[in-house]
Symmetry: D2
Subunit: 349 residues, 4 copies
């Protein structure tokens, strides 16, 4: 199939630059425009670089197509697909406007995430939600919140045991707050046991992600999530301590198998950014760790796309474990790229 | 009452130096000897300093009484009281030997902590356990593990609601592993979701701490603790995310009152290192934090001796909150100093 | 002498809160008003706390006198003295206005620091510059830049050797950039070898500080400073690697003596915030260090007011050493408090 | 040419694992044995992993050829080439033994680095030193100290201006101390202005590196290096603030050109791990930074092999700049790999 022309909105932010990284030399998409706040300041993308140079293709850095955020300009370029890393206050309107202009938008912003007509998709978890997009022209597909995505991946193989409620304490990296985000004075040698709106997002998103499709509408699951979200002095990746109450008793061996053997639709249809194994089970007692496991995922294009689980323990009907996933790759830009790859394969982009 | 002569064992370590700090100019105790590994290397205490100079009295730094760990020497000095920050492998035998030699030992080591004849005491929680020491001559009193003490303080006022089980995820500071402890390469920009033996300690200690005294013996409580212990890149203080299932329904107001009004025996008898309020309830949504709350506790001598609680939420019969306490002060040296002050007041030192 | 009424401008910032801390229970000054940006947001000072609670007196936290920045209001309160931690863009005009209204202003802002009629004073270095203030009513006295003050203190005892030029590489703490200051994403596990305007300040301030007073005007010294200013992931204190070319050859012993025996005017007249020894020479090969030496200074009120020097080496006519001082105490708020104490003693406040 | 069989000594350490990484799928070398301390403990390499999994080939992790350090075993395997990341106390004897057994040894250990018959080589700086190896059978080639290599790379293009003396202040990453290396309690939120033996190494190595070959012997240069070596809380890469006194006056433009156009022997003969540009000049005022520039070097196999320079300033005959290079790649394992590639091309391996 022919490559589709893509633009990235909000390309100067931490997630925007992960979009640049993941779309570089992409087999399905060809980036033709980067939009962000820097151009209006007379800067180049290389002036606002937040990732090491080798992450961003040189051509992007020098690109002539760098422009101010200007929805009219995006519409004139008329891309086949838009990736949005816009801040929430800009995202709501801009994304709806583009969708109404027959442009598919794959977004990391939370602004439109909970709308009834916007599928909130983690491809390994609920790719069937994409069915609610019936018209090829103009729609929004959202990835979830960074802390929800990693959790959802690890919960999916447990679903068969009858998941009742989920308690989760998160250890969230500073990059989750974007740029400039968290002042260094707040997080150096410190922990902040609160992240605005984060617990609310997890409480709402997990039930939507695990909902069912009934006559073309998503009906939320009644799973209950009790999150406590905490910011820690780590650059990338969210680690989550999870306990799940299920309906039956299972053994550590069974659950280990369930984690290890977990494969889903993106693996079956071999999407370019899909990791061979979406869940990597570590048996070492001291894993997962952000430094060692952030970039889990094979092959190279899927680095940072696998979640890692470890420290599995079961007592009665409670399964406890630790999971970790990269918050700006799998939990943000990579989530939307995978959604887009899936829609491309379906002929919907 | 006359001051008692004290020696500190293991004075070169992180906890040992907190003993030096807390016993400096102490109204009950007079440090006459510091024992540690440095003297055998021909060093002075100032050569192995792990706290800023002002924490340790100059007289200690220059002390002539600095000696190699040598239990015979301790016995010859014949102190009225010994504070032990010995590593576990040395502690078991040395402490028993000193106790059998009629010297009261107040220890932070875990080696003898779970013995039937050793009261495991957090004075605000279970000072009555000291009653099992009936002979003035020669005994061991242990403080708990750093992560157990902070948790126990916060649980005590909830006891009246009929505490059933406790789930806790910890965010533990690097100083908890002592010195040299955790290699910087393991914890810089990283999290380690495992601390050897830590979860086991919490599982055993909390039931002992909340046990009852029956005919002179401690009978463990049947409260069940499910801990996940995690190391984070913070220098001092353990933060813990706690959820407690109780027998009845209570309101946030009731529990807030219970936390705020909590006073116990050390406050009543006005021990020098006892904080006016052992629990400080923060209403700000983003507290407690290690940087801001580690040294909570008033007056000056009690800095680092109060635990801080925050983020109180209740759903049904589950109380959720975050607690924080200084791991090497309240959670280690300060815990034993408070125990010793209590025994001094009882005329048992 | 009677205590003077003081107000603090910019009290919600990192330096402003150090002013609160250093003026708490001060023997000369009585804080009657705190001005800052938080009041206009309907917040209390406790909501914008950037230091642990025990640093700031409870009375300040609850103070009724907390007000929006409003120079008219300051003038109506008519304090005997103003301490300014205003951001530069507000400082220039506000400070001149207050001074013209007969209020002495002691400022940490750089806005008016290089004016001819504003003495730039580090009391141990150039207290005689205060002589240019001849009228009791209305003036500005500035402390230097955080990186200049620590350097100047360490250079002063070397002056007698005929200081020619000074090369300095700084390791500057994140708190030097204020709040919110440096984004955590820029400095976690990272170093930034550039601080805007910092090198220029050092190049200009050191010659002014070491200038001479000629007919009531400050004539700059011709010492040449070559600084490279670098931000490092440390919360507090600036460490500086210094090499000074002098006119004669000296021995390590001579320079050690010069450092150790250094006392100056604030020590002679026994100012409350003056450290007994303004320079502390460490002979250990691995000192000074921010964690161990930031709060150097004795007695308690002078903590953080002494600079520490170490690693002294001399080859030919070049003296090399490392110095460290607390950037928001000695290098900012404490610098101005010491200036104010000196003027109080002179009867000029 | 046929691939050569290589073994890695000390493969469980930080530098050893960088050897594994850089030799994975290498066009010249085929790793047939990994030797390290873990095997004797009954562990696998994956149990002592200090880099993310994707850095080390799976085949290495599972390798049957993992063995205890056993020089006899190495000799029996009879590799064509040995890479040594041995600790110094083991390195001296083991490397000489292997060399005497006709095995070429490329070492990062400093033990034999200053021997007359051991070329100390940074290929872009002094590849001609390899000429002193005249016999193919059995020799040692050493890379320099991590802080010397980065400095040497940046000095090489300045040589033509008549380099007289070099002042350098280093900001060295924790990984430079190996594993377990620096205790986290020493370096969290802290700086240590001393690294044992490091300044001495730079003082000796730079003159040897810039020496000349006279009748088959290396005659040291008389350039004088004045280093102050400082440890900072950063995981990887050494940043160095350099000032060089030269014999003539040059312009910033000339020196910029010299940096940018610098190419040397490894680039000419196109060695696989040689970066296209060994020096990358950044014009942004706030570069180089460890986070952004550690992995500089193109193509992929040369990542971490380029040094980055920035902040170039010239006053009179003094050139000032900042340089940064990866301490365990270019400054250690990569240095030796590049040396080995050069000898392979010469037919000497």
């Amino acid at each position: 199939m022919e490559k589709r022309n893509a633009v990235i909105l909000g390309a100067s932010g931490l997630v925007g630059q992960r979009f640049c990284q993941m779309l570089s030399n992409h087999p399905y998409f060809n980036v033709i425009g980067l939009f962000g706040g820097w151009a209006s300041d007379g800067k180049k993308l290389s002036d606002v670089l937040k990732l090491p140079d080798y992450c961003i293709p040189q051509s992007d850095l020098l690109s002539e197509t760098i422009n101010q955020l200007d929805i009219e300009k995006v519409k004139r370029i008329d891309p086949d697909i838009v990736f949005s890393a816009l801040p929430n206050d800009l995202a709501m309107e801009a994304e709806l406007e583009l969708a109404s202009h027959s442009i598919p938008v794959f977004t990391n912003a939370s602004a439109n995430r909970m709308r009834d007509d916007v599928p909130l998709v983690v491809p390994e978890v609920n790719s069937e939600f994409l069915d609610i997009v019936t018209e090829k022209d103009g729609y929004i597909v959202a990835n979830g919140n960074c802390s929800s995505i990693g959790l959802a991946l690890s919960l999916k193989p447990l679903l068969k045991y009858g998941m009742r409620d989920v308690n989760v304490t998160t250890f969230q990296a500073a990059s989750g707050a974007g740029y400039p985000g968290i002042p260094s004075m707040d997080i150096m040698d410190n922990i902040i046991p609160y992240i605005r709106d984060e617990e609310e997002k997890m409480e709402k998103e997990i039930p939507k992600m695990f909902g069912s499709l009934e006559s073309g509408r998503i009906k939320n699951s009644d799973v209950k999530v009790n999150p406590t979200c905490v910011r820690v002095p780590v650059r990338d990746s969210h680690l989550e301590v999870v306990s799940v109450t299920i309906h039956e008793e299972v053994t550590v061996e069974e659950v280990s198998e369930a984690f290890m053997n977990f494969r889903s639709h993106p693996q079956e249809i071999n999407l370019p950014s899909a990791p061979e194994k979406p869940l990597i089970l570590r048996k070492e007692e001291n894993r997962p760790q952000p430094y060692l496991d952030s970039m889990a995922g094979y092959p190279v294009r899927a680095r940072g796309m696998a979640a890692t689980v470890g420290r599995l323990k079961i007592s009665g009907k409670v399964i406890r474990y630790v999971t970790l996933s990269h918050n700006t790759i799998r939990g943000a830009a990579g989530g939307s790229v995978l959604n887009a790859e899936l829609m491309f394969k379906r002929g919907m982009v």
